[in-house]
Amino acid sequence: MSQPISLRGSTRTITEFFEYSINSILYQRGVYPPEDFNTVKKYGLTLLKTHDDELKQYIRRILLQVHKWLLGGKCNKLVLCIVDKDEGDVVERWSFDVTHLSPSEKEGDIDEEVTQNQIRGLIRQITASVTFLPELTKEGSYTFNVLAYTDAYAKVPLEWADSASKEIEGGEVVQLKSFSTNDRRVTAQVSYKF
């Protein structure tokens, strides 16, 4: 019987999920070429993880800070926007809402295995979302941006700057699955231009 996840452990689980989900989205949506990714086994699935140093470093820097914010309960949303380089339009917006559960909202100790199963389901859904999302036709002309929604008084390092929310106006929204740890609940959704 595995132990329930502590606050630090739960934050690590969430950060790790963000890492794999960002990699999966970037691979599935063809933002980066397939040769930039390696296969790894995680959550009982074969996932793809980039081995491009620049991209890896960028994701690592984001997630390190997000991890700190999550530990302090200062971050409540992480958004991945896929942007058309030529037009500057946001074509897809993957949003991960993090709800910090209060003691009254907690539903007892959640087993780590349950959390892993929920994450597996969500990653499968992200992978499967390629089927309904519109094809990104202009190969190599898309880039991405990660936005972190934080508390107004969170400590922000110099390398971070304010940004617009980059919402897709009138876009289609699809609610994806969610997963819970002992202290937090993560819900995902994707909005896209159609």
Binding site: V83, T150, D162
Partner: protein, 687 residues
């Protein structure tokens, strides 16, 4: 020029030919006339051409080298920039880390200090409380022991008393029984005595009667004996009675002691009851003590801050009443201090107002002083003017005297002989007298003026000195003080105004902060791929705009603006980046290909038993997994097959197999399969 160079002729050409063209013409003319000169010309032309060619090649090489160097320079520059960027990033990071580290260290130090102080105070409090608790527990234990001892003593006494009382009761019963039996006996004996007395009296009466009638000695002796016996018996009875009386007395004493013990027992029972009550009270008080201790701990927690600020001695505070008393005292003191403070502030305000008034008065006085000095100066000026007028009047007097003398002379000449000597002499005497008097007066006036002047000078000198020493400095400083005081008061007013403004602003800021607290910040990394792309595009746009402006505004046709070069440079860099990316992609694809081909070779090796090694000259080396030291070499161009397996110790009938499977049947896979089987057999045999 173009016409000349092309060889075209114009009849209207007025300009003379250029030397080169002229030379060409000249060189063309003798080419058809003199063979030797033609040859030299051709040689020279060849030389020129070769030199031009060399020059061109050198220029080309130079250009190529320059381009290469430029490329290298660009790449180096790029590397340099990237390294500088990295260095800057690293420096920024280190700076940031250093700052955060220092701030964290400071925080840690302060926290550590606070923690140490807090811990020390907690420890002292804890020790005090522990000591108090230990004292209390000691007291409680002592009391407990005392009470227990007393209770045990009382219990033992009670038990003894109970036992004694029981014994006494038993004895009493026995004694009562004995007493009752003896009293019965006594009664019986009394009745017997009464009977005997009655008998005696009867006998006496009968004896008297008989004495008179039958006085026999025998009867008398028998009666005497009987009497003696009776006397003895009564004596015995009396003795027994005395004994019983003594015993009764003893029993009564015992009974009394029993009653006494009983009373004592009751008293002790009462005392035990009171002790039980006291014990209950003691337990209640202990509970109360625990509650009070917890409350005291809370008081201590509250008082720790107060302790640091106020000079309250915690040892004096035994209970909350002390604290309340202290608090009340402090409150009263505080109120008194507030009153005093308000009075002091009022008096200080009054003093300030008075000071301001004094400053104003002082200013007025200084103005008056200045006016007075000015008046003095004016008076001196007037005095000086009067002196000058006086001198002028003296001069006038002199002139008039001269004129008078001249007039006298003239009158004397005119009168000549007419005038008399006596009158003239009188006139002369009068004039001389007048002259002398006026001279004396003028001298005296001069002297007086001189004295006054000297006095004035002295006074002025002393005044000047005083002014220089006292008045000037004092007036200056007093003036300065006044100015500064006025300035100070105005500044104080300004500060008060500013403070009110600051409080208002702080309140507003607080409100705004409270409003903003619910807001969310959306953040992104500064050097993300999107922002990088946008930055490159913006830069490109800016460069193109600059280029466009420069090209539109350029005046000379030969000039190429710098912005064109910059744009080209930027594009070059972009292209280099693209090349870098494509190279990276190519490398990765190559890696994947190598990986896949290795996988393929492995699969072939494991499934077919042959390891394929592709050579660069279109040859394939085939190694069998059963004999890796030997191989088959297939030349795909020449269509030949060579092997070192055809030895006697390996495959003896190599040629035969080759003939059967390749030459006759044309089945290479079957041939290879046969070889594989053979090699397996050999390796199996060897095993």
């Amino acid at each position: 020029m173009s016409n000349n160079a092309s060889g075209g002729s114009s009849p209207f050409l007025e300009t003379p030919l250029s030397p080169s063209s002229a030379n060409n013409v000249e060189s063309r003319i003798p080419r058809f006339n003199v063979n030797g000169n033609v040859a030299i010309g051709e040689e020279k032309e060849h030389q020129i051409l070769s030199l031009q060619y060399k020059l061109n090649t050198i220029q080309n090489e130079f250009e190529i080298e320059r381009l290469q160097m430029q490329r290298q320079l660009n790449s180096v520059d790029k590397k340099y920039r990237t390294t500088i960027d990295e260095l800057e990033h690293a420096l920024n990071d280190t700076k940031f880390l250093h700052e955060t580290n220092s701030s964290l260290n400071e925080e840690l130090d302060s926290l550590r200090k606070d923690y140490e102080e807090l811990r020390a105070s907690r420890e002292t409090d804890f020790k005090d409380l522990k000591r108090q608790l230990e004292d209390k527990t000691q007291e409680v234990d002592d009391l407990k022991l005392n009470y227990e001892n007393e209770i045990s003593v009382i219990n033992s006494e009670l038990q003894n008393a109970r036992i004694a009382s029981e014994n006494d009761k038993a004895m009493l019963k026995r004694y009562e029984e004995q007493v009752s039996s003896q009293s019965l006996e006594i009664r019986n004996l009394n009745s017997v005595i009464l009977e005997k007395d009655a008998e005696i009296s009867n006998l006496k009466t009968s004896g008297m009667m008989n004495f008179q009638q039958n006085d026999t000695t025998e009867e008398l002796t028998a009666i005497n004996r009987l009497f003696q016996d009776q006397v003895k018996f009564t004596k015995q009875l009396e003795e027994a009675n005395i004994k019983q009386a003594n015993e009764l007395k003893k029993l009564r004493n015992v009974n009394e002691s029993y009653n006494f013990y009983k009373i004592e027992n009751d008293k002790l029972q009462n005392r035990i009851n009171t002790f039980e009550k006291l014990e209950k009270n003691y337990q209640d008080s202990q509970l109360k003590i625990v509650n009070l201790e917890s409350k005291l701990a809370a008081w201590d927690i509250v008082d720790t801050d107060q302790e640091s600020h106020m000079d309250l001695d915690m040892n004096n505070i035994q209970n909350p009443v002390d604290v309340i008393r202290n608090w009340k005292l402090l409150k009263k003191e505080n109120l008194m201090l507030i009153d005093e403070n308000s009075k002091v502030t009022l008096s200080s305000n009054n003093l300030k107002i008075l000071n301001d008034e004094l400053a104003m008065e002082r200013n007025q006085l200084l103005d008056l002083n200045n006016n007075y000095e000015q008046n003095l100066i004016n008076m001196k000026k007037l005095n000086h003017e009067l002196e000058q007028q006086k001198l002028l009047s003296f001069e006038e007097c002199k002139l008039l005297r001269k004129q008078l003398d001249e007039f006298d002379n003239f009158v004397n000449e005119a009168q000549g002989e007419k005038s008399k000597d006596g009158n003239n002499e009188n006139y002369k005497d009068l004039v001389d007298e007048y002259k002398n008097k006026t001279e004396d007066l003028t001298n005296e006036l001069k002297r007086i003026n001189e004295e006054q002047r000297q006095q004035n000078q002295q006074q002025s000198q002393t005044n000047k000195k005083r002014k220089t020493n006292d008045s000037s400095s004092l007036t200056y400083y007093s003036q300065r003080i006044n100015e500064l005081q006025l300035e100070n008061s105005s500044l104080v007013r300004d500060v008060a105004k500013k403070e009110t403004v600051i409080t208002h602003l702080e309140a507003k800021l607080k409100q705004l902060a409270e409003l903003k607290e619910k807001k969310i910040r959306i953040l992104q990394l500064r050097d993300g791929p999107l922002l990088k792309d946008q930055f490159i595009k913006r830069k490109e746009l800016e460069l193109l705009k600059a280029e466009n402006n420069d090209l539109l505004s350029r005046s000379g046709a030969d000039m190429i603006p710098k912005s064109v070069y910059e744009t080209l440079n930027f594009e070059l860099k972009k292209q280099e980046d693209e090349i870098f990316k494509s190279t990276k992609k190519f490398m990765r694809l190559k890696e994947i290909f190598n990986k896949k081909s290795l996988e393929f070779i492995d699969v072939v090796n494991s499934l077919l038993g042959f390891k394929l090694e592709f050579q660069q000259d279109n040859k394939v080396k085939i190694y069998s997994c059963f004999k890796p030291s030997n191989y088959l070499m297939v030349d795909l161009v020449k269509n030949t097959l060579v092997s070192n397996l055809n030895r006697e110790d390996v495959i003896a009938d190599w040629d035969e197999l080759l003939k059967v499977w390749i030459e006759d049947r044309g089945q290479i896979p079957c041939f290879l399969a046969t070889i594989t089987l053979r090699l397996w057999e050999i390796s199996d045999m060897n095993k």
